[in-house]
């Protein structure tokens, strides 16, 4: 496998996989058909896949089941990923209750919150501990990833604790700019910022004819 694969290629792989999952396993799919599913080009699909080796038959395409299996392996989805959630407010609860993560191999195993009424209880079947226990529980539960869903003022401390505990992949929902070392992959989901971008888009295209 080549190194320095563009992050966008990995994002597209995830989208190809979503499409492949809806198809019959023994069907043959062409790069053009796969491209159409995410509105890209066949050449782009072939290039994305070429980063990871030779797949399919020239002129024919890819067997859906085989390609699905290969992409799952490339994305590391042939294993179960254990997740720790920090923050069990409304957003955290929505994440805990969403069943789609488990179907894709992502299991939220433990949660942390400073709310005394939640500590020691289970929320959506997941035990809740005080953030003070992050290092200990992450080690015990063999956690691979962290998700931050705390208010912005508590986000950096939460991420620091996850990093000290050995977590190297973090998804952040807090509206805060977080500092992480270069060896930690931080993904940011900033809903307000994305809404603001849409507001900007609408306010600058309002006068144009459709």
């Amino acid at each position: 496998m080549r190194e320095n694969i563009p992050e966008n290629a990995a994002v597209r792989l995830s989208l190809y996989l979503r499409h492949l999952r809806k198809m019959k396993k023994d069907k043959v799919v062409s790069s053009e058909e796969l491209a159409e599913s995410i509105r890209t080009s066949g050449a782009r699909v072939r290039k994305d896949l070429s980063f990871f080796g030779q797949f399919g038959t020239t002129g024919k395409g890819y067997v859906v089941g085989e390609l699905e299996k290969t992409i799952s392996k490339i994305l590391g989805l042939d294993q179960v990923w254990m997740i720790a959630l920090v923050g069990t407010g409304k957003l955290g609860m929505a994440l805990l209750e969403y069943s789609g993560f488990q179907e894709s191999g992502f299991h939220i195993r433990i949660a942390f919150d400073v709310d005394q009424s939640k500590i020691g209880k289970k929320l959506a079947g997941v035990p809740v501990y005080h953030p003070y226990q992050i290092p200990k529980k992450i080690r015990q539960q063999k956690i691979n990833m962290g998700v931050i869903a705390v208010p912005s003022e508590a986000a950096q401390e939460s991420v620091d604790l996850l990093i000290i505990s050995g977590i190297r992949a973090i998804l952040n929902f807090a509206p805060a700019t977080l500092i992480v070392p270069s060896y930690v992959k931080l993904m940011q989901v900033d809903l307000t910022s994305q809404l603001e971008i849409m507001a900007y888009f609408l306010s600058h295209t309002r006068e144009e004819k459709i």
Binding site: K136, R139, D160, I179, P181
Partner: protein, 130 residues
């Protein structure tokens, strides 16, 4: 003139032992017992080097204090030796170390260590600074 060392740690025993060791070798020591006091004294006293603990009021207070120190122009180049018992106290297996943005310190020493180790490190850093 004696070099001035600021020691920021809520562990008073550590501060006192380090202070005795450093003063016996001619250093001037300024103690601070929490992050806020540490930041204030760093700005007021202009130390030549800062010794800073990670775990104080919170488990990661020292990290935030180090970042705040680095944001201040007058402390940007002051060597910071970060000391911590966090791995031992919390039984953490992964190691952490200085990082340009996340942990902007010069050196990282894990507690416990003999006072002479800190002395040696400070001697090295300050001779490099000359």
């Amino acid at each position: 003139m004696a070099h001035k060392i600021l020691i920021v740690d809520d562990d008073r025993d550590f501060v006192e032992i380090s202070r005795a060791t450093l003063e016996s070798k001619g250093y001037q020591v300024v103690p601070a017992y929490d992050g806020k006091e540490g930041l204030e004294k760093a700005l007021k006293e202009h130390p030549d080097l800062i010794v800073l603990d990670v775990m104080m009021a919170t488990q990661t207070e020292g990290l935030e204090v180090a970042r705040q120190m680095r944001e201040n122009q007058s402390l940007k180049k002051t060597p910071i030796v970060m000391v911590t018992a966090i791995r031992k106290r919390m039984d953490i297996s992964s190691k952490i170390g200085p990082d340009k943005n996340w942990l902007p310190v010069t050196e990282f020493i894990e507690k416990p260590f003999p006072p002479r180790k800190l002395l040696k490190k400070i001697d090295q850093l300050l001779s490099r600074k000359k």
